[in-house]
Each structure stands twice: as C-alpha cells, then as structure tokens.
C-alpha cells in the first residue's frame, strides 16, 4: 500500500525543561497542526469509503417523526458525498443488512447513485433489535474487501445494545480498531453514553447526543463534510524515549480528552507508535508525561523525540528535553499549557465520576465531584461544559455551597456525559 506524500506537519512542544535535582518527571504539551497548505498538498489522497449505519430497531418508530428524521439525516449526509467517494448505507438491527447498494458492495457517489440511495433509504421501515457489534462487523467486512481505502462510518442509534453480550460488543470494537473510524450519534435519551463512547473512542471518532430528531439532518451533514475534509490518511505519533525511561501517559487533550497510552505499538529502537487516525485541516494537542532517570544539575537529556509519521515517512518532529538545575525558581515553574490541560483532563474525569455516582445514588460523592468539575470548568474558561454542568448542579455563588438539582432533564445529563471530554483551548494571555 502506497501512502500519499504529506509534508509540513508542524509539531510544537511546550514544556518547562528544567527539573530539580533528584526528580525525573517531564510533562509536555505537543501541538500537531496540519494547515490548509499541507492538506492541499497531499499528492494523491487515497480512495474514500463512507458507511452510514442507521438504526432500524422497532423503537425507532416512536415517538412519531423520529425515524423520518433519521431518514432525512441520512439523505443529508448522502448529499454531502463528494463525487467518486465509495459509499454504502446499512440498516442496523440485531444484524446488519445492506440498504444501498442492494448487494452491499460500495459504489462511487454520483448524482444518480446519490438519488438511488436516498430512494432506498426512504423505503426503510423499522423493525428488529439492536446489536451494534454486528454493525461494526459488517463495515469491517467491507474494509477487508477494499484495502488501502480511507474508511469512515457514521453510526446512529436510539437505544441500548440489547441483542448481543457486552463481551461480544467489546470484541467487535477491538477487532475494528485501526480498520476504520466511526462517529456515533444517539438520538433521544434511551441509549447509553458509555456504549457509544466505547465505540467512538476506540475508533477515533466523536460521540454526541441529538436530543431533538429534527436536528439530526444538520448534524449528519456536518459530520460528512468534516469527513470529506480529511484527506491525510492515518498519521502516527511516534515516541522515542531514552533507555530506562517510562512513559507515564500519552493523552490527546484537545479538541477532546482521549487516553492513548494503552494504544502503543512497539516500533523498535526505544520507539512506540500511537495511531492518530486521519486528518483534515486541524490541530490537536497531546499531553505526554515521561519519567526519566534523574541526573545531576547542569546535565541535559532528551526525554522524548516526538515524530509524526505518515506511511513510513517522518513528516514532523519535536524534541522534549530535560535540563537539571539547582535553581528552584526555574524548576518550580509549570508550563501554562501543561497546567491547563491537566485541569481539563481532571474536569472530564470529575464529570464522568460525578454522573456515575449520581446514577448510583451516592449524593455526597456526586456533589463533590460535580462541584469540583464546575470550579475547573469556570476557571479554565470551558464555557460549554460549565453551561451543561449548571443543568445538574446548583452552586450558590455567595456561599459556595453546592447541591444536585432534583429535576434533571435526561437529555441534559446525557449531553453533559457525552461532551465531558471536550476541552477548552488555553486562553490568550490575560
């Protein structure tokens, strides 16, 4: 498989290189940016394959209008397909079945195939169960038949994964990892955020709630447009660390928090690879923490070499050095961005733990976690999360006392959960 030429990805490292004697923890924020020029310069982007999975379980019948909205959303996504993009529409129930093309073999988009596909979608009738693992398996089968293509799926559901075991679903997710990317959307409030997050996180996609079915069409069109903009196929973050060092974690921290630590694939010569998925014109930030062997004041070591790899080629690189010093004023400083993203990761965790405690009826833990989340969201300027938090917890601004709201709209709570990993960028210098 040949990979298109990619060059000029910029890699910026932000960290305080100074360490006190006897310490060895190096934190760095690595920003990776693919600019317009980089994306435009991709010599020969690979063929693209889009799969839209629409939940056709019986529950999609109610309330009235939900299934029609899902069909309209699928049609809106089909309209965004760039000519020549291979695509297929899949009906998801307790099994997956091809809607268009009938034989399940993806076809290039054109005015004619888009129209045919929309007619086929329009004829869909809900009826059946929900086994999302089988849906993923179906897409995987298509990927195997189309090696080298950049495959992206959109998965829409309204309910819980019921007609397979959680273990079956986990296995299917694991088998699909690295094969294709998948954005997941839940419509209504009967689906489970953790289920869809497990899929979207492993398959490097997004997850969100679309509480009102009438918003689906815009959301689907958006997702498809974003996917059409991703012309850089799989990038890899390659991390070299010195002998004796330990990588504490590698996390994507913007636009969302995503722990990549366990996705490491050994690449030899003290290097490990972390898949980053496909890219359009965008920038993402990563927080890397490495434990190196402490050294004497005055010594300097390379704590990590961060390379961005496309195919076999290094297309961007940044160095994370460590300098030991006896000057505590230097070593005590924490990089502003490291501090910011450490807070954002804690925020995501506090929201998820708080909501989980709330569900299990542990009011004191839920209150403490969500109050802490509120502080972090307000401090860091994460207005989106702060606004959603206000839907579940009340904080008296004068006294600082917090209490959980008694009446919480299910959609608000699910939106907070689904969007908990979204981070705010570092604010400009005040």
């Amino acid at each position: 498989m040949s990979s298109p030429e990619v060059s000029g990805i910029s890699v910026d490292v932000d960290h305080n290189p100074y360490l006190a004697e006897g310490t060895g923890t190096v934190d760095a924020i690595v920003s990776i940016t693919a600019g317009d020029d980089v994306v435009a310069a991709v010599a020969a982007p690979p063929d693209r394959l889009e799969a839209i999975i629409i939940d056709c379980s019986t529950s999609m019948q109610s309330p009235i209008g939900k299934f029609d909205a899902a069909k309209r959303a699928t049609a809106a996504a089909i309209d965004e397909l760039v000519d020549g993009t291979y695509f297929t529409i899949i009906a998801g129930t307790e099994k997956a079945s091809a809607v268009y093309p009938r034989d399940g073999w993806p076809t290039p988009a054109s005015a004619a195939t888009r129209a045919e596909a929309k007619r086929a979608v329009d004829g869909l009738r809900p009826g059946g169960g929900t086994a999302m693992g089988t849906w993923l398996a179906h897409v995987r089968g298509i990927v195997v038949g189309h090696p080298g293509m950049l495959t992206h799926a959109i998965l829409l559901t309204d309910g819980k994964d019921e007609h397979e075991t959680p273990e079956q679903m986990r296995q299917e997710i694991a088998l699909s990892e690295g094969q294709f990317t998948c954005d997941c959307r839940g419509v209504g409030t009967k689906w489970h955020v953790e289920e869809l997050r497990a899929i979207s996180s492993a398959l490097l996609g997004t997850v969100d709630i679309v509480a009102d079915p009438t918003d689906l069409a815009d959301d689907f069109a958006d997702m498809m447009r974003t996917s059409m903009g991703k012309s850089i196929p799989d990038l890899t973050l390659r991390l070299w660390t010195p002998a004796g060092a330990r990588i504490a974690f590698v996390k994507q921290v913007a636009p969302t928090v995503e722990d990549l630590t366990h996705r490491r694939v050994e690449a030899g010569n003290q290097r490990g690879d972390y898949p980053l998925g496909s890219w359009g014109t965008e920038d993402r930030d990563y927080h890397i923490q490495v434990e190196v062997e402490p050294a004497a004041a005055g010594r300097e070591k390379l704590a990590a070499r961060v390379s961005v790899v496309a195919g076999d080629e290094v297309v961007g690189e940044g160095l994370v050095n460590a300098v030991w010093t006896a000057d505590t004023e230097k070593s005590a400083q924490i990089s502003r961005r490291v501090a910011h993203y450490t807070g954002q990761a804690e925020l995501a965790q506090a929201v998820q733990e708080g909501l989980s405690a709330r569900k299990s009826g542990d009011v004191p833990t839920a209150t403490a976690k969500l109050q802490r989340a509120m502080e972090l969201a307000v401090e860091s300027g994460n207005d989106g999360t702060a606004k959603l938090l206000r839907g579940v917890i009340e904080v008296d601004e004068r006294t600082g006392t917090a209490r959980l709201r008694r009446e919480v709209a299910a959609a608000d709570e699910m939106a907070l959960d689904a969007r908990s990993t979204r981070t705010a960028r570092v604010r400009k210098e005040d």
């Binding site: 660390t241 010195p242 002998a243 004796g244 060092a245 010569n269 003290q270 190196v292 005055g298 010594r299 300097e300 070591k301 390379l302 704590a303 070499r305 160095l319 050095n321």
Partner: protein, 350 residues
C-alpha cells in the same frame, strides 16, 4: 581536519574583494562589478559540536556511539560541546580551548584573507580574537558574532584596498554592531572583548601590521632576534588605568583590577568603545610572528618574552598547541584562545 577555507560564512553574506559590494555568499561572481568571489578564504572557531563529526566520541553516560541532534540515541544524554577546536588557514593556526575551570568556552576566533585565486597567496590578512564577558548572558554568542563580523568587515575593506587603520576601524564598527545585536535577552545582553589585526603589504616591500582592541585580549609581534618581542595592544582594564595613573604593576590594587574591563563590546557598551589610541600600526620588513590571544593564555605568560619563547624553531601549529598546553598545565582557569601567524616577509604576499 580544518574547516575548508573559503567556505561561505553561515551568515550568508560576503563582500566582493574588488568593489566591496555585499552579496550572497553563494554567488560565484559579484553582482556589482562581476569580479570572481572565490578569492576570500575564511575560518572561524569554535565550530561547536559539528567539529566532532567524523571523530565522534562515544556517549559519556552509556558508551553508545550515535547521536541525533546532539542527543545520544540510547540514553538521551546531550553530547557536550567539544573542549577544543583547531583550524588552519594558510600559515595561520587558530586554537580555542575551554580550559579547565569554566563549564563552556566563551572565546571565539576568526581569520580571513583575500587571496590570488591562482597562487593562493594572500593580498592581505585579517585576524580577530574575542573573549566573552562571563558575567553577561550567553557571552559566547557575542564573541562568535563579533569575531566573524570583524573579520568579514576587514576583508571587505581590504578588498577595497583600504589602509590598515581604516580596515581595523571598519572591523571594530562591524564587530561592535554584531555584539550589540547578538543577544536575545535584553535584560542581560552578551558582551565580549575584541582584538583584531590586519596585515597589508606596502609598495615599498614592507608589511603594515595594524591592530585594534577593546578589552583585554592581546596582540603581540615577535620579530626575529635581537629585536625584542612587543605587545602591540593596551588592555582596557582597571589595572591598566591604574598603571597609567602611576600605580606599580606589582601593587595589590593593580593585581586585583587585572580582570576588570573598562571597555567591551555589547548592547550595554558605549556606542564606540574605542579611541584613537586603540588602533596602532607597525611597519616591518623582516620575518616574525604575529600572535593574538585571550587572557586565558597571557595570564600565565604576562611578559611578551614569555610567549615569544614558544614561537622559535617550531611549526606554528606546534607553537600554538604548546602555548595552550602550558595554560592548561598552569590550571586553565579561563578559556584559552590563541591565533599565530608566522610571517616570512612581504614576498609571501601576492
């Protein structure tokens, strides 16, 4: 191995030897007068870690032999700057050494000549030594910039057939500007000394040696015996001022003030920290050695005759190495830089 003489300066600019117009170093011909630009030969030290290329020492931490971006590819240890760099340009030998006590080398030296492209004989020669002021921030940046800029400006002036005094003053001005603009931290700008020499043959068959200095790096002229060796520069130091005011060279105040500079180059220096008396010309017919050095050498060999002893009956490289070795044996309390140029006479010039 020495740097290839005549390799374009990294700054990317060079002066035409015919008309002195400044052009891109990569140009083979002057954009102004069309003259060939291949007749400038230059060298500057220290050349940093790159000087170790080809003769790489293994990592001092883990013994691994490969480095990328100066970091060991196994343990990540940053390769130290080489302790010493040596270069030759024609008969000129330059050595700079970290010494023993200082953590890094903040000295720099440069040499250049305008040559006849056919015979490689020089029309004229320019030398400079700089010593970074260790109390300033990153003084080695100023030392490197000033020594290179000084030699470049002198070469441009020499190429335009300037007289020795004007040539050295042009070098001083360029070096002062380079040192003043070299730093990145305005709260603690780097500063350095500057001592330069220009050697130009005269129509009478003699040689004019013009020296200029700011600070306490020195230039010496060692003619053949019986003419006594001569210190050509006057230190810009507190002790020198006290001696000028009548204090004894052996007195305690003079000894204490030996390393207190009264003039230097850098952003925090006077606009032109030199005077008429900072530039001196001697004319010579006979052979001798011109030597420039930082105080890391002359501290241990304060009298001209002390240094001159090393410069008889040996090759210039051997003499320069022996001088540096002497300073190291005496303790190497400072960085040591020496430039020696044995001159047979005007007949060696084009």
């Amino acid at each position: 191995m020495t740097d290839v003489a005549g390799r374009p300066a990294p700054e990317g600019q060079t002066a035409c030897p015919q008309c002195a117009a400044i052009g891109d170093s990569a140009d083979r011909f002057c954009g102004s007068c069309g003259a060939t630009l291949s007749d400038i030969r230059r060298v500057a030290i220290p050349r940093g870690r790159d000087a170790l290329e080809g003769a790489e020492a293994p990592c001092s931490d883990c013994g691994n032999a490969t480095f990328v971006d100066d970091y060991c590819t196994v343990c990540g240890h940053r390769r130290p700057e080489p302790d010493r760099d040596e270069a030759e340009l024609g008969a000129i030998v330059l050595i700079t050494d970290r010494g023993i006590e200082h953590a890094r080398n903040e000295d720099a030296a440069a040499a250049g000549m305008v040559v006849d492209g056919g015979t490689e004989r020089p029309y004229a020669v320019a030398l400079a030594v700089c010593d970074g002021v260790s109390t300033s921030g990153d003084p080695q940046i100023a030392a490197v910039a000033a020594s290179k800029a000084g030699v470049d400006a002198m070469l441009a002036a020499l190429a335009a057939a300037g007289k020795g005094r004007a040539v050295v003053l042009a070098g001083l001005a360029a070096a002062a500007n380079a040192a003043a603009t070299a730093g990145t931290d305005p709260s603690n700008p780097p500063s350095c000394t500057y001592t330069a020499a220009a050697v130009v043959p005269t129509p009478e068959g003699t040689l004019q040696i013009t020296v200029g200095n700011v600070g306490d790096s020195r230039a010496y002229w060692f003619p053949e015996e019986p003419t006594p060796p001569q210190q050509l520069t006057v230190d810009d130091s507190l002790s020198q001022e006290l001696i000028a005011a009548g204090a004894s060279a052996e007195s305690e105040v003079v000894q204490r003030g030996a390393h207190t500079l009264t003039r230097w180059l850098g952003a925090d220096a006077e606009a032109t920290p030199w005077s008429d008396s900072s530039v001196l010309t001697v004319t010579t017919a006979g052979p001798g050695w011109l030597l420039l050095c930082s105080d890391g050498l002359w501290n241990y060999l304060p009298e001209p005759a002390d240094i001159a002893r090393f410069c008889t009956g040996v090759e210039p490289a051997a003499a320069a190495r022996a001088l540096v070795a002497h300073a190291l044996q005496c303790g190497g309390h400072d960085n040591i830089t020496v430039v020696v140029f044995p001159i047979g006479g005007a007949h060696e010039f084009a």
